[in-house]
């Protein structure tokens, strides 16, 4: 009886997982199909005719999709690096030191969360215009980093609290100064969280449209920027082709982050036991 009930529960769980998978994969499948479709009138279940127009449009002669893609990835990587470094240092200060106005600084770090990015982007644009950063890749990286910072900082603050000060204390007592303690003990322990923060920042940057448009002033081209006009003009084939490239690039980089790098760092560190 109980075995049968357990079997039922297992089937229900499998059905739910399958349903969830369907919810994620079905729209993706539609995008993939659209990218090679010539026409897909309404009641038809599958496209009527196929075409390579999307692929030609993207990668045909005279198109710069490849370099835009490379630029987007480079931009996003730079943003991920910058964000992770700043977030880690900020989180360390916020979780380890007691100082005046600590709560205010903490709030400031998390502020971009609360403000709609359109509102916030205008302020950034004004500031960057004055600083001469508008229209430059560096400015775009910086603006993306500001948006990604709260997410990364939250991850790093939690990670620092989880790592705690126990092993840092032990390192000090083994004769390591503050710098060597940080390099030999804290950073290796934080590495998995830093990778999470970096991939978060990477995705934020890679998929950012509005801020890139405003700060980059059209001079900094990213994949999201190039893709957008096709979406709004209703050319689904080309928009979907861009979507597929977009997805592939994200998955590839994510795979590199998650699988390759993480495997090289300490796997599943048990912070509390030994």
């Amino acid at each position: 009886m109980s075995a049968r009930r357990r079997g039922g529960a297992r089937w229900a769980a499998r059905a739910l997982v399958a349903l969830q998978g369907l919810c994620v994969l079905a729209p993706l499948a539609v995008v993939v199909l659209w990218s090679v479709t010539a026409s897909w009138p309404w009641p038809a279940l599958l496209p009527e005719s196929w075409s390579a127009r999307g692929i030609e449009e993207l990668f045909g002669p005279g198109r710069d999709t490849g370099s835009v893609l490379a630029g987007s990835i480079a931009l996003a990587l730079a943003c991920a690096l910058l964000t992770t470094v700043v977030a880690t240092l900020a989180a360390r200060a916020l979780s380890r030191y007691r100082f005046r106005g600590r709560e205010a600084v903490r709030f400031a770090v998390l502020l971009p969360f609360l403000i709609p990015s359109t509102v916030f982007a205008m302020g950034v644009q004004v500031a960057f215009l004055r600083a001469g950063l508008a229209g430059t890749a560096a400015g775009v990286v910086l603006a993306h980093a500001i948006v990604a910072l709260p997410y990364a900082a939250l991850i790093m603050m939690d990670a620092l609290d989880a790592v705690g000060t126990r092993l840092e204390e032990q390192a000090r007592l083994c004769g390591a100064g503050a710098v060597r303690t940080w390099i030999h003990v804290t950073v290796p322990l934080l590495l998995p969280a830093m990778l999470s923060a970096a991939s978060m920042a990477y995705i934020m940057s890679f998929s950012q449209y509005f801020i890139t448009l405003l700060i980059g002033a059209g001079k900094v081209k990213t994949l999201a920027l190039v893709m957008f006009p096709y979406l709004s003009s209703g050319d689904r084939t080309i928009a979907s082709a861009y979507g597929v490239v977009f997805l592939g690039a994200t998955l590839l980089v994510f795979f590199l982050f998650e699988v390759l790098l993480r495997k090289r760092t300490a796997q599943e560190i048990d912070y509390f036991e030994g």
Binding site: A171, R172, C174, G175, G177, V185, L189, A266, E273, G274
Partner: protein, 387 residues
């Protein structure tokens, strides 16, 4: 190296109004090469003292001296100490050998030399060949031995240990204690160990510093701590004893019909600690009294006076259960009613009722509940302190 603390005072708390005194003028010293234990219950400030010595915490006032030199200005990593925490704290991203060699690496010792020293130490903590393993593959006892090896690796000027055995199974603790003592002797390293286990402190130390409420209650060699405890808490911390609250009148402790010798204790409310191994009831007590033992408060006060033992007169008591009590060691101590018996292996323990409080006495066979029996105590196992 001689470690000394002078008048350490420290209050901890996030905000000013919930600051709480953790240490009150703590002073003691650890002679060069000695093994000293800091004994106390949780919250007594033992670990705090250790952290102040290590420099992880800064005292509000007072000084820490190494060989007479004040080290208050030195950060923890420049104090040249080995530290073993209760929760082990091996670096999870380093191998066992890298963990052990880490203090050497921090002191600029070359790779070949530190690898050799790590291997040597691992061998001495009975973990030969464990070098390439990862810390998480170790058992609790193995991990603690690696932590010990790491603490000793750089031949520190002193070794500090914070409850190093309390995370281990009972069966492992004895082995670990012998290992620590052997290594400590071999390395000749001045050692200060925090423990809440009084018998552990007795077995391992040259000297015990008992802390209570952030202040030193007694600092003495283990024999003296056991034979002449300075407070009721210290007397009771060795376990297997009854604690009674009563009144002292003219050098005798009274509770219901029980009387205990309390030489030199001022009249008034008092607390008595009676060690199980040093008292008897019923037949044992009758035989002792018939054999000519004195009585407390029965007959003359002089009789009680006779049974008093001045400081130094008592050899270190070997209480242990089953230790034969010479009849002459006992004095009659009144009577009490048997409430119940429990079986404790070597003997039964009779619980005697003293005005609602319990006096526990080992007996060879269960006594009849409800019966009133005579009681006898050995003065060297009976301590009375003003409450």
């Amino acid at each position: 190296m001689k470690v000394e603390v002078r008048d350490l005072t420290l209050a901890l708390g996030e905000r000013k109004r919930d600051r709480r005194a953790v240490l009150r003028e703590v002073s003691f010293s650890v002679p060069d090469g000695a093994f000293v234990s800091l004994l106390g219950e949780s919250g007594a400030g033992k670990s705090t003292v250790l952290k102040v010595i290590a420099g992880i915490l800064l005292q509000d006032s007072g000084a820490v001296l190494f060989d007479g030199r004040c080290v208050d200005g030195l950060p923890p990593h420049r104090r040249d100490l080995g530290f073993v925490f209760q929760d082990v704290r091996l670096f999870p991203h380093m191998t066992v050998a890298e963990n052990v060699a880490y203090p050497l690496r921090m002191r600029g010792v070359g790779r070949r030399e530190r690898t050799a020293r790590a291997a040597e130490l691992l061998e001495r903590v009975q973990l030969p060949g464990f070098g390439p393993r990862e810390p998480r593959t170790l058992s609790g006892g193995q991990a603690q031995r690696v932590a010990l090896a790491r603490a000793l690796a750089a031949r520190p000027a002193a070794l500090l240990m914070d409850e190093p055995f309390s995370g281990l199974d009972e069966s492992l603790r004895d082995d670990m204690r012998s290992l620590v003592l052997r290594l400590q002797r071999e390395e000749g390293c001045t050692t200060l160990m925090v423990t809440h286990d009084a018998s552990e402190a007795l077995m391992m130390s040259d000297r015990v510093v008992a802390l209570d409420g952030g202040a030193v209650a007694q600092a003495a060699p283990p024999e003296e701590l056991f034979a002449r405890p300075a407070t009721a808490k210290i007397a009771a911390c060795f376990g297997d004893c009854s604690v009674l609250e009563g009144q002292v009148r003219q050098g005798i402790f009274h509770l219901a019909e029980v009387r205990l010798p309390a030489p030199g204790v001022p009249d008034g409310a008092a607390r008595a600690v009676v060690r199980h191994g040093r008292c008897a009831a019923a037949e044992d007590a009758r035989r002792a009294v018939a054999g000519g033992a004195a009585a407390v408060g029965i007959g003359s006060v002089d009789a009680a006076g006779e049974c008093q033992a001045g400081p130094g007169a008592i050899p270190p008591a070997l209480a242990g259960e089953g230790a034969p009590l010479g009849a002459d060691a006992l004095v009659a101590a009144g009577k009490a009613m048997v409430r119940c018996n429990v079986y404790a292996g070597a003997t039964y323990l009779a619980r005697l009722d003293c005005a609602g409080q319990t006096l526990t006495v080992p007996v060879p066979a269960p006594l009849t509940p409800g019966e009133t029996v005579p009681v006898a105590v050995a003065p060297d196992g009976c301590f009375v302190f003003p409450a």
